[in-house]
Symmetry: C2
Subunit: 108 residues, 2 copies
């Protein structure tokens, strides 16, 4: 299965607040579709709630993972793919990279 | 809307590995249904991928949030409820508490 690493970078001071979430998800939607045949691995220095909102956003995808820097791989958190289960490690060496930059509301 | 705070505590050294995820989700399912009319706020000292797997697990719920200790409230990460949006803060003072304890695989 093809994979896309969605790398989210928060610009400025890097501080995201919950009010940023709708606009952040909107920004992500401009760059990459929530649905599609590729697996999505979400990556970034983000609060837990931003990660959870992003992985939920991509739930139409066949496989959703979060990148775990300590392992250097994705960890599958949701799968509609029989051969991959929740908790499985997802190598990303062969993945396409999609960079998304977002300026927090308090700096806009 | 009624709310449930699902407090997940990792026993022993508190270290969870990705291989724990299927069993952790199974343990959660024994204690509380993934669907239901109450909002769910997931809380705990957990890796990002565990939070994401847990919030995905509860996606049939009308509202899913993660508890943000710095704010003392939940942050909505997914909503099927018209009056609540992603990013909204969810007070939990009036919520039911469900405690879930899990012993990691490497200590079983």
């Amino acid at each position: 299965m093809k994979k896309v690493v969605v790398q989210v970078k928060i610009l400025g001071d890097g501080v995201l607040t919950p009010e940023d979430l709708p606009q952040l998800l909107g920004r992500v939607s401009e760059v990459i579709s929530d649905g599609g045949v590729e697996a999505v691995v979400v990556s970034g220095r983000l609060p837990v709630w931003a990660f959870c909102a992003l992985t939920h956003h991509f739930h139409p995808r066949p496989l959703v993972a979060t990148f775990e820097p300590r392992i250097g791989k994705g960890v599958c958190i949701a799968s509609h793919t029989p051969e991959v289960s929740v908790g499985d490690l997802i190598p990303v060496d062969d993945a396409e990279i999609v960079d998304i930059e977002y300026l927090p509301l308090h700096l806009q």
